[in-house]
Symmetry: C2
Subunit: 397 residues, 2 copies
C-alpha cells in the first residue's frame, strides 16, 4: 500500500501539490542558509505534538497555541538558536518572526508554526533576521524555490546530513523534512520533523494518525537521554490531491516517521552505527519500552556496541537496573544479539567471535524477552563514540 | 569532632585495632593482586546495604544472607570478574570461595561477606583461584600483611588509583577501602566500599549510621547512570577500642563516606574533573535529588563541563526534562555556576569568560534553586570525556 520510493528516478522528493519551500541566510550562523519556510498555497488541516520539557521555549509555546486551531498551513524554522530561556524579549522575537512570515505569505499569523533549535539562552540576532525578512518580502513568492532537501539542510545544527522522506497513498504524497542529532530523547514529540501532504484529511484523522505514528517511532528514539526544549512534530494536509483512506494514510505516515527515526538515530551525534533494541514478552508495551530504553540508553551498552565488544553482560546490567519492574525474573529472561543467544545459553568462545563480527556491522540488533506477557516495543539509538564528546564539549562558542 | 587526617604523618592509614589484611594473585587478571581479605581477629557487629539490581549476582545474594546475621567479621573481594549471570555454577563458586576464606580464618562461613566486580557473564577461573587459596591456607595468618591501600589496589578494575579513607571518633578509628569508576550509579547501595572500625557499636546503631550516610553520599553519586549488579557497602565494628557515642560515630561515618564518594567521582572512568550539583528550594529532598541527578547525568552537561564550554542552557534543558516535576516553574528557577548567576540573569560576554575559567578547574559546582520549598540535595559526578569511550569500548576481551 505504501511505497518507499515515491520518486522512481530515485532522486530527492519534490513538494506535494500546492506546497512550496524557501531558505535563506539570516545571520544565525556564519554562513549557509539558516531560515526556512514551507507553505501551502491553500488552507490546510494540521496536527502537531510538542516537547513536554518544563523549559519549552517561546517558539513551542506560540506554536502550541497556533496548532490548537488545527489549520496550520506554513512552518518556519530558525536553525542554530533555540531562543529558549531568553525572557520576554525571546517571546517578542518569536512573535515578530511569525508576523513577518505571515506577512510574506499573506496568511493569518495563527496559521504559521515556528520551530527553533540550537543554543539555549542566547537572544535571536534580530538585527540581521529582520533585514533578511525585509529582503524576502520584496521578492515575495518568487523567493520560494527551495526543494525539501534544501529546507532540511537549512534546519540542520550538528546534523551531518539533511533528512527527508516521502511516501505515497493513492494519488496523495507525503513529504517530510527533519533535523535532530543530539539533545535527543524525544518525549511526547521530538526534535523538528514536519510532514507535508496533499491528501485531504480531517484534523481528527490527522491527529490520530500523527499520535499513533509518533508513539512508535520518534518517541522510541534516544540518542543521549537529553530531551530538547524545542521538539516539534507537525503534519500539514492541504487536500490538493483529494481524500484518501485514513487508515492507509496512518500506515504511510507511520512508515515515513520510522524512516525519519532511523535517519535521526544513524546520524546521532558521533554515531557510527544504528542500535535497535526490541523487548518482547513484557507485561505491556509501556514496560517493554522502559526496559528497551534502559538498554539503548546505557552508556556501557553504547560503548560496547561502538567498540564491537561482545560484552553482553552489560545488557543484563541495563535490564537489572530497572528496579521498579519487580515482575522481571532473571530466570525467565533471554537475550540475543542478532540471532545469537547470549543468555541464559552462554556463548562459547567461537560464538563470541561471531558476535564481534555482528557488532562490526552498521546496525546492531539486540532482542530481549522477559517471559511475562505479550507486550513488545522496539527502540532506536546509536553507539556512543569519542566524536559525541568532541561535538558536544565545544559547541556554543 | 571528626578529623580528616587520622594519621598525623599524613601517610596512608593502617588498620584499626584487631583488623588485618591480605592480598594475593588468583589468576583473575594477568598480573597483580586480584584477591583480598580483610578480617577482624574477634567477633564483630556489622551493617551492609546492597545493589537493588534485578540481576544481582551470587556474591550479593550470598552476602545479603550472611549480612542478615549482623555479625560479619571478614570481607573477601574478587576483582575483574563479577561472577554475575553465571548460573548455578556461579552460585557454587561464590560459596566455595567463602568456604575457603572462612577456613583460612577459622570463622563460620556466615561471618564472611564476598564482593565481586568486573565482567558479567564469565565463570570465575576456579582452576587458578582454588590452588591460590590452598597456598594461602598453608601460610595462614602470616600471609595477612596487606595495608588498606594494598587491599584497595587489589580491588580495582578500571580504577586508576586505590581509594582509602579514615576518620577517628574518640579512641576509635574508621578505615575504609573502596573501588568503582564505571557502571556507577549506586541505587540503595553502591560499588564496593568497606568500612572497618574498632569502635563498639550495636548492630542497630551501625545500621542507622550506615543507611543515613549512604543515602547522602554513595546514593548521590553517578558516573554514568549504570547501576552495577554487584554494589555492596558494609561496615564492620569489632569493638577493640570500646564504645563510642553513636551520633558522633554516625557523623564520622558520613564524613568518611563523603570522602570516598568524592574519590570515586573524581576517578570516574575518563573523568578529568569533579562535577557537584546542588539543588535547593525543592519540595523535598527526594525531588531535589531527582532534579540534581538529571543535571549530573546529562551527557550534554557532562560534555560541556569537560570542554569548559559555558553552555549553561543545557542545565535548564536537564531541569526541563524532569517532566514529572510539574510544580517546577521556570519563572522561579535560578542557576549558578560557582558564584555566577547564569539564569534568569543572563551573563554578559565577559561573564562567560569568567565561566570558562571556572569550568577549567578540577571541580565544577552548579547550584540550582527551584523556589518551591526547602528540600535540598547535592549529587556528585564527573565530566564525560573521550577516555570514557576508550575505556569502555574495549573492556572485556
Amino acid at each position: 500500500m505504501t511505497h518507499n520510493h515515491a520518486f522512481p528516478a530515485g532522486g530527492e522528493p519534490t513538494w506535494p501539490t500546492g506546497f512550496r519551500g524557501y531558505t535563506g541566510h539570516g545571520g544565525l550562523r556564519d554562513s549557509g542558509d539558516d531560515i526556512s519556510i514551507v507553505a501551502s498555497d491553500r488552507p490546510a488541516t494540521s496536527a502537531a505534538v510538542f516537547t513536554r520539557s518544563l523549559f519549552a521555549g517561546p517558539a513551542v509555546l506560540l506554536s502550541r497555541k497556533h496548532a490548537a486551531g488545527r489549520g496550520l498551513r506554513a512552518v518556519t524554522t530558525l536553525a542554530q538558536n533555540a531562543n529558549v530561556a531568553t525572557g520576554r524579549r525571546g517571546e517578542e522575537n518569536a512573535a515578530e518572526v511569525v508576523r513577518r512570515v505571515a506577512g510574506i505569505l499573506g496568511v493569518p499569523e495563527g496559521e504559521v508554526l515556528i520551530g527553533s533549535t540550537g543554543v539555549i539562552g542566547r537572544p535571536l540576532p534580530m538585527s540581521t533576521i529582520l533585514p533578511h525578512f525585509d529582503r524576502t518580502a520584496e521578492r515575495g513568492l518568487a523567493a520560494f524555490t527551495a526543494a525539501p532537501r534544501d529546507v532540511a539542510r537549512a534546519m540542520m545544527t550538528t546534523d551531518t546530513r539533511p533528512k527527508t522522506a516521502s511516501r505515497t497513498v493513492g494519488r496523495a504524497r507525503l513529504v517530510a523534512v527533519a533535523k535532530g542529532v543530539g539533545m535527543l530523547e524525544p518525549d511526547m514529540a521530538t526534535m523538528l520533523a514536519y510532514v507535508f501532504t496533499d491528501a485531504a484529511l480531517s484534523p481528527a484523522d490527522l491527529d490520530t494518525a500523527l499520535r499513533g505514528a509518533v508513539d512508535r517511532t520518534f518517541n522510541c528514539l534516544s540518542v543521549d537521554t537529553d530531551t530538547s526544549t524545542s521538539d516539534t512534530v507537525a503534519v500539514i494536509a492541504n487536500g490538493a490531491a483529494g481524500p484518501v483512506d485514513p487508515a492507509l494514510f496512518a500506515e504511510a505516515l507511520a512508515d515515513l516517521c520510522l524512516d525519519l527515526t532511523l535517519q535521526l538515530a544513524s546520524d546521532g551525534e558521533g554515531a557510527t552505527k544504528l542500535l535497535r533494541v526490541t523487548v518482547g514478552g513484557a507485561r505491556d508495551h509501556a514496560q517493554a519500552k522502559r526496559v528497551a530504553k534502559s538498554v539503548v540508553n546505557s552508556p556501557l551498552v553504547k560503548t560496547a556496541v561502538h567498540g564491537a565488544d561482545p560484552n553482553w553482560g552489560r545488557v543484563l546490567m541495563a535490564i537489572g537496573k530497572c528496579t521498579d519492574e519487580t515482575d522481571i525474573d532473571p530466570a525467565r529472561v533471554t537475550v540475543k544479539f542478532g540471532d545469537t543467544e547470549v543468555y541464559p545459553e552462554e556463548p562459547e568462545v567461537d560464538t563470541l567471535g561471531q558476535l564481534v563480527d555482528l557488532m562490526r556491522g552498521d546496525e546492531v540488533d539486540i532482542a530481549v524477552t522477559l517471559g511475562i506477557g505479550t507486550g513488545e516495543a522496539t527502540v532506536y539509538g546509536c553507539d556512543l563514540s569519542a566524536d559525541y564528546i568532541r561535538v558536544n564539549a565545544d559547541y556554543t562558542s
